[in-house]
């Protein structure tokens, strides 16, 4: 596993993706230090100014201002913080629930497997975006609510994919051998089965982060997201929509931010999938 991770760090996909994510992550962590303005500060005297390099731009507002005269750059930077927080916590939460249930279902099989499988089926029969909207209406807005909604919707994604992987791994004789050597079920799952599913898990997590970023943007766009007081890319798109003719930049910039972030996560997932696939890498002498 350690070897595989080291190997993946030599993959150009992974390196490029990590570079991009490091930049976005830096913005998220040090938003307070690098943002030129407070994202909530309104300057009603200069609203909808274009970026500085365009005619009529203001050096003070590098990427221009929005309809309330707030600095777009600062809002983008703080929006990265929101997006990254959601991506991290939501995918981690979904992963924990999905992984635990997948291992229980795939390892023990039988009635437990049936029960978990049906739960996943029922859950997945709702379109995910609709389900998260319904949840948000019920839960109310706020960062933790968005995270909770994504976790509640997306654990099924992990559960379904991992369960079939667990089934394959469990069929290996070394899992039966571990039991014969006196391993408890928990030891067997943790020490024999999980290390084999972990590479897939890591891949899934990075893909899930991309999904979480999109879902957060959608929720914020319709106003059921992190709340008006917190800058979010989806919210910026929603605001800019009405003034798209006066100031197309306000619409394009947050879309670009989402695009870059999602691409980075997908690239990372793809690169990891290629390099961590132990079945491809560990054969051959």
């Amino acid at each position: 596993m350690a070897d595989a991770l080291a190997r993946s760090l030599r993959s150009p996909r992974v390196l490029i993706a990590l570079g991009m994510l490091l930049c976005i992550g830096f913005c998220a962590v040090f938003a307070g230090l690098i943002a030129p303005h407070d994202p909530g500060d309104q300057n009603l005297l200069s609203i909808l100014t274009p970026p500085a390099w365009v005619d009529g731009g203001d050096r003070n507002y590098l990427l221009g201002t929005d309809s309330l005269g707030r600095d777009v750059l600062s809002r983008l930077i703080y929006g990265a913080r929101t997006a990254m927080l959601v991506a991290l916590f939501a995918s981690f939460g979904a992963m924990v629930i999905g992984t635990v249930l997948a291992h229980i279902a795939g390892y023990f099989g039988g009635a437990v497997d049936w029960l978990i499988g049906r739960a996943v089926d029922v859950w997945m029969s709702f379109p995910p975006v609709i389900l998260s909207l319904i949840l948000m209406v019920g839960l109310g807005t706020g960062l933790s609510k968005v995270i909770l909604a994504i976790v509640l919707v997306d654990w099924t994604r992990f559960c379904r994919v991992l369960r079939s992987e667990v089934l394959i791994v469990t069929r290996h004789d070394y899992v039966a051998a571990a039991r014969l050597l006196g391993f408890t079920h928990r030891q067997t799952i943790v020490r024999e089965v999980f290390p084999a599913t972990a590479p897939l898990l890591i891949t899934l997590v990075s893909l899930e982060m991309a999904i979480a970023v999109i879902v957060e943007a959608i929720l914020s766009f319709v106003g059921l997201g992190v709340g008006a007081d917190q800058p979010a890319w989806g919210q910026m798109i929603a605001d800019a929509r009405q003034y798209v003719y006066q100031s197309p930049w306000n619409l394009l910039l947050p879309i670009l931010a989402i695009f870059i972030t999602v691409t980075a996560f997908n690239l990372l997932g793809d690169g990891l999938r290629r390099t961590l696939d132990v079945r491809l890498a560990e054969t051959g002498r």
Binding site: L115, H172, D173, A178, L180, L181, G182, P195, V278, G284
Partner: protein, 610 residues
Amino acid sequence: MALALQAKNLTVSARIDGALVPAVRALSFDLEPGRILGLVGESGAGKSMVGRAIAQLLPAGFSITSGALLFEGEDVAGMPPRRRRALLGRAIAFIPQAPMTSLNPVLTVGAQFDEHLARFGAASRRARRDRAVAMLTAAKLPHAAGLLGQYPHQLSGGMCQRVLIALAFSTDPRLVVADEPTTALDVTTHPPILTLIADMQRQHGTAVIFITHDLRLAAQLCDQVTVMYAGRAVESGPARAVLATPAHPYTRCLQLANPSLRAERRALYVMPEQMPSLRQLRDLVGCHFAPRCPLVTDECRRGEPPDIAVATGHRAACIRTAATAGIAAAVRDDVAVRAGEQPLLQVVGLQKIYTVGAGPFGGGRAVAAVKRASFSIAENEFVALVGESGSGKSTIAKLLVGIEQPTAGRIVFAGEDLAATRNRAQRAASVQMVFQDPQSALNPRRRVASIVTQIMEAGSRHADWDQRLARTKDLLAEVGLSADFATRLPGQLSGGQRQRINIARALCALPRLLVADEIVSGLDVSIQAQLLNLLARLRAELDFAMLFISHDLSVVRHLCSRVLVMYDGEIVEQGPVAAVFDNPQHPHTRALISSVPPDEPQAPWAALKA
């Protein structure tokens, strides 16, 4: 008359790290129409490469780099693709190794026949159907007409192979390539399948290339044999002569490494190490067999030995052919081990019923994998369990070690009912299992040291790493591996080495009973001999009893003192090995015994009907 197939200095090479390494080197043979040529060798010898070269289906990176393969005088590699397509499948047919996966699972047998015959120009649907029925009947398949409507998964492996044989011969081919056609099948189906191939071959006057790892079988079936080692034909000649008086040390060693079912029990010849891989081959100078050869001299390492005629039509690539007959196995030294008097394991009325196709709320159909089984194993005794596929052997193994729970019956181990044993650690320390497939049985992420001492981290035990390394060292020495294997991953081991690790892990806590399910089946004869000797030595050193599950009666007779014969979930016969094999009572035992070809190439094999 033109030769059906001729190989002229055929060399097939692989590109490894930029260099060309020959997987088949300068192979020459002549195959006349209506004759059977056997290509014999262990895995990695390059024998399947020949079949693949004929079909022009070489694996990626491999190509014919010199020499030629002539089908009726035409170069197979050089002919236009259109011409080759017209020949392959029609004039040149193939019988595959894995019959179950070689038929299309979504098409009926009839549809596959129809498609095949239509491709090669059989006029009407009616004519194709008649031909199919005629061929299936000739292949001794009952109810041929009804069979046309069935799907492959509704047939047994043996039936699938008969269908494939019928299919291969249906276009009156002039050459048939059969690559290990019985290896994947039950032993009891070997003689009838081979009889069928021989019959078809005779009726159609077809030339056959028969690829096999079994010398005895080749001697019975083939007219000519070519023995291959590391890509080179080391010996070739009339089948019976090659086996009766082998001239190359490898052929002789191979013969001596194989235990006999009928002759006096003798020690097995153990060739050290294993066949060189392509990578190792690149750096080997002189005779490729030299590292394992008992007759090796300095001269052997200087250059490649020439091909020498030892009799008319009988050639061998060795400079010391005169000494070959003198090679003999060491004398058996494990006879001193005696089984104890006390029964260690007693199994009474064991039964296992599986329910298949059941939902979460029950339902499904009951399958009795083990109907009724009673037997006992004494301390330090090696008992064999034999029987055909699906007879319930593995199920018994799983019940003994506790992977499955019995439906009824008792398993008493050292006076204690195992079902009642709640202490899993105690059970683990007294009964262990060696799994069949060493690839699947070893966690690819653990290093060897962590695998063989895995029992020391089970439950609440936490042996420190120094302790585990010390134990690893002892265990590796026991199973004949050097200490530097401790840090390897299973992916870096050969099949035989993996199986040694598998055995070492089972022996770590010195269990008193070992359950071994087909642990030498997938291995080459020379590796099998190494492991059989290892098991015999370990028993003498460590004192343990073993239930040895196998389908190979010769191996069983060599290693075990008592045998249980299983048929359809029941133990139909049991007793001392000598008594059961010399005087079998149950018809199934007789069928098992007669499916093993005789040691002497001249002796008739009754099961192979003329």
